[in-house]
Amino acid sequence: MSKAIKTIYMIIIMMFLYLPIVTLMVFSFNESKSMFAWTGLSLRWYKEMFHDTQMLSAIWNTFSIAISAAAIATIIGTMACVGIIAMSKRSQTVIMGFNNIPLLNADIVTGISLMLSFIAFGFYLNWGTVLLAHITFCIPYVILSVMPKLKQLGPGNYEAALDLGATPAYAFRKVVIPEIKPGIISGFLLAFTMSVDDFVVTHFTRGAGINTISTLIYSQVKVGIRPTLFALSTVIFLVVLVILVLVNFASGKDAEEEEFFYEVAQG
Amino acid sequence: MAKSLIELKHITKAFDDNVVLDDFSLLVNENEFITLLGPSGCGKTTTLRIVGGFETPDDGKVYFEGKDITDVPPNKRHINTVFQKYALFPHMNVGQNIAFGLEISGKSSAYIKDKVKYGLKLVNLDGFQNRKIESLSGGQQQRVAMARAIVNEPKVLLLDEPLGALDLKLRQDMEYELIRLKNELGITFIYVTHDQEEALTMSDKVVVMNGGYIQQMGTPEEIYNEPENAFVADFIGDSNIIDGIMIEDRVVKICDTIFPCVDEGFGHNKPVDVVIRPEDLIIGKPGDGKLDGEVIHNVFIGVHYEMEIMAGGFEWLVQNTVSYPVGTKVSLDIIPENIQIMHKPKSKEEEAIDTDV
C-alpha cells in the first residue's frame, strides 16, 4: 500500500470524525436557531449561556457530580486495588471479574437496574441517587487504571522500605503512592470524563428533579436543540483541548502521555 | 581458492545523528564461519541487519554472489537469520514455526514433513513438532529458531548473538553444536557477538569491530596472539598493556629494561604499546628473571591462580597454576615470542575501553 493511499485513508477518516464537531462549532455562532441555514455570525448563544438558569443549573449538576463521583471512586478504587493485590490469585480473578461487569454491561442495564434498586429501597431520585449511580460505574475505571501500575511496581520497593525500617503505613505513603500516582491521576480523570459525558445512567436515575448537560440536551432533541447547548459544548471542548495540549507540552513523558490520552478520552 | 560470497563495499549507515558505520567494507567467503566481535554500539549488529536486508545503507553496496542486492527486500534474499531473542511465532507450535519458510516456497506437504523432522533431528529436538513455544526452555527455543532458519537451505546463515540468554554450560554445548552444524551443512555462518570466548571457539575468521571500524581481522590465533592495537589486545583475553620504547628491530625497552622480541618495522626509539598475556609471564626466584618484584594480590580462579605482581613500577597481571602467596619476592621473565608490539592508538576507537566501575 503506497504512502499516498494511506494518507488519503487517514484524511478521509479524520474528516469523518471531525465533520459533526466542526458543524456544531460553526452553528454555535449562527445568528438564528436554525441548524440548516446560516444567517450570520453571532455570539448571542454564548451570551445567553450565562443567563439561562436551566442550563446553569445543569452545568453545576454535571460538574459537581463528576468531581464528587470521581473523587470518591478514586479513593474507593485505589484502596480496593491495594487490598486486592494482597489476595490470592483466585480471589483476585473473581473480584476483577465482578469489576468488569459495569464496564462491559450495557449502560441501559446499569441505569435501569440502579433505578429499580433505588425505588425499591425507598430512595427518591435526585442529585444523590445520580451521584451514587455515577460512583458505581466510575470505580471500575479507577481500578483499571491503578491496578496495572500497582502490578508493575511489584513488591520490590515496598519490601526495600520495610527492610530499611519503615512501618507499613510509612512505606505506603512514601514509596507506593508516589509510584502509582500516575495511575491514580489518570483513573481520576477517566472517571471524571465518564461521568461528565454520561447520559443513559443519569437519564434513569435522576427522577424529574435535576438535569445534567446530557439530559438537558436530550430533552430538547424532539423540539430542536437550542444553540446555547452548542455554545456550551464548544466551550467545554475547547477548554479540554487547551488543557490537554498544555499538559502535552508541560510533561515530557511519552509513554505516560499516550496512556493518559487513551484513558482520558474514553468518554 | 576461497570464493567470495558476500561483499560489503563502502557501507555508511547513520541513525539520526549517530554514525554507526563509516565506509565499512568486508568480504565473506564461502563455507566460512566469520564472527563480528565487538562491544555494544560498535556496528556489528547493524552490519548483520544490512546483510539480512532489515536496514538499508545510506551509502555503499551489498553484493551476494556477485549480484547487487542492496535494495532487495529480506524476503527475497537467499539468506536466513537467527534472531537474538529467537523471534519464534508464539501462536504456532514448533513444527509450524519450522515449516513456515518451506510453506512459503510452496514445497509439498510430504517434503515439508520430512524437512521438519530433519531439522529437529539436526538440533537434537526429535519429536518436538507439536510442542507449544511457551513450553520450551531458552536453549530449546534457540534450537528451534536455528532449525527454522536452516531448513530453508540458505547459502548464508546470519546469527545475532543467539547464545546471549543461555547459561554457561548450555552456551558451551551450543558452541560445539554450531561448529558441527556448519561442518555438516557446509554453509557460511556470519555470527555477531560481544563475547570473545564464543568468537575464539567457533570462528574461522574473527573481525574485531569498534566504533564502526574494523580494528583487526584474522584467525582466532592471530587475534589473540598478535593483537594490532590496544583495543583488540584489551578486548580479547586478559592482557598487560604497557608503554615501551622500540629501540630498534627486535629490541624493546620496558620498565627501563631491555627485552629481545620478534617484531620488526616499528622504527628506532619510537614509543609503542607492548602487550604481554598474563599466562606468558614466567615467575622465578628474585634475580633469575629480567624484572624483580613482589606479589601483591592472589585470587584462586579454579583453572589457575590470578596474581598481581608489582615489578619495574608496573602492576603485572600474572596467571599461573602454581600459587605464590602475597608478599613473596619474585622475578618475572618472558620469552621474546610472547612480547607483542603494537602501534600507539591513532584514534579513539583503537584505545582500550575504559571501564569505570
Binding site: 440548516f36 | 524476503n75 513456515f100
Partner: protein, 270 residues
C-alpha cells in the same frame, strides 16, 4: 493482612451497586405487577413488535461492528507504522472528538444528513443525486459506527503495537510476502484486541436507544427503545425487565466469547 480490609468498601459497593441491582431486574422480570411469579415478560419477546425490534437491533449491531472492524483494522495498521511525529499525538487526534458531547455529535449527523443538510448540498454541487438516508436504518448504522469507531481502533492498535518487531522481521526473513505477514502473523496475534474491540462496539450498538431516537426520527424501534419506553412512558417495569433479561443473554454471550478469545485480559483499550 489488614490490607485486604481496604478493599471492603469496594466489595460492598459491588454487592450493593451491581449484584443487587441485577437481582432486581431478575425479580421484576419474573414477576407481574402484583408480585406473582410469571414468565410472561420473558415470552413477550416473541410478540411481533418485540421480536422485530430485537431482530433489527441484532442486525444493525452486527453490521455496525463489521463496518467498524473493516475501517479500524487498516487504520490501526497505518497508525502502527506511522512516523508522523509522536505516536501519542496521532492517536490523540483520533480520540479528541470524543470530548464533544456524544448526544450532540450524533445530533450533528442529523443536521448533516437532512434533506437540506450539508451532505446533500455537497452532493448536489457535485451533480450527484441526493441521498436520503436520514431516518432510515442506514443512518442509525452510520451513527453507531461514528460513535463507537474509536473503541474498535484502540484495542486493535494496542494489540498490534504489542507484537514484537523481531517476529515480523523473522517472517520476512523466511520469505513471507506482506500479505502473508498480515494473514499469518498480524491477524492471529491481534485477536485479543480484535475480540475486545468487537465486544465494545457490539454491546453498545445492540442496546442503544439514543442513536435510534435521534437518527431514526422516532419511527425506528430498536430493542433499546422498547425497553426504555417501558420504564419511562409506559411504566411497565416488569415487561421492561423481562425484555432486558433477554437482551442481557446476548451481552453475556459476547462477554463469554471475549473471555475465550482474550484469556489474559490484555486486549484492553488502556
Amino acid at each position: 493482612m489488614y490490607r485486604k480490609l481496604l478493599s471492603m468498601p469496594f466489595i460492598f459497593w459491588i454487592f450493593v451497586g451491581t449484584v443487587i441491582p441485577l437481582a432486581m431486574i431478575a425479580y421484576y422480570g419474573f414477576t407481574d405487577r402484583l408480585g406473582n411469579f410469571t414468565i410472561n415478560n420473558i415470552i413477550a419477546i416473541f410478540q411481533p413488535v418485540h421480536a422485530q425490534a430485537l431482530g433489527l437491533s441484532l442486525g444493525l449491531a452486527l453490521i455496525s461492528t463489521a463496518v467498524c472492524f473493516l475501517l479500524a483494522f487498516p487504520l490501526a495498521m497505518i497508525l502502527k507504522g506511522s512516523s508522523w511525529g509522536r505516536k501519542g499525538f496521532i492517536v490523540f487526534i483520533f480520540i479528541l472528538p470524543m470530548w464533544m458531547n456524544f448526544l450532540l455529535r450524533t445530533m450533528a449527523w442529523q443536521v448533516i444528513l437532512e434533506k437540506g443538510g450539508i451532505f446533500n448540498t455537497m452532493l448536489q454541487t457535485m451533480h450527484l443525486p441526493s441521498l436520503n438516508i436520514i431516518n432510515t436504518p442506514a443512518a442509525i448504522v452510520l451513527g453507531m459506527v461514528y460513535d463507537f469507531l474509536p473503541f474498535m481502533v484502540l484495542p486493535i492498535y494496542n494489540a498490534l503495537m504489542k507484537i514484537d518487531d523481531n517476529i515480523i522481521e523473522a517472517a520476512y526473513d523466511l520469505g513471507a510476502t506482506k500479505g502473508r505477514v498480515l494473514k499469518d502473523i498480524l491477524l492471529p496475534l491481534s485477536v485479543p484486541g480484535i475480540a475486545s474491540g468487537i465486544t465494545m462496539v457490539f454491546v453498545p450498538s445492540l442496546t442503544t436507544f439514543v442513536i435510534s431516537n435521534i437518527l431514526g426520527g422516532g419511527k425506528i424501534y430498536l430493542i433499546g427503545n422498547i425497553i426504555e419506553q417501558e420504564f419511562t412512558t409506559s411504566a411497565n417495569w416488569n415487561l421492561g425487565s423481562g425484555l432486558s433479561l433477554i437482551m442481557m443473554v446476548f451481552i453475556v454471550i459476547s462477554m463469554a466469547a471475549l473471555a475465550r478469545l482474550d484469556k489474559s485480559g490484555e486486549g484492553n483499550f488502556i
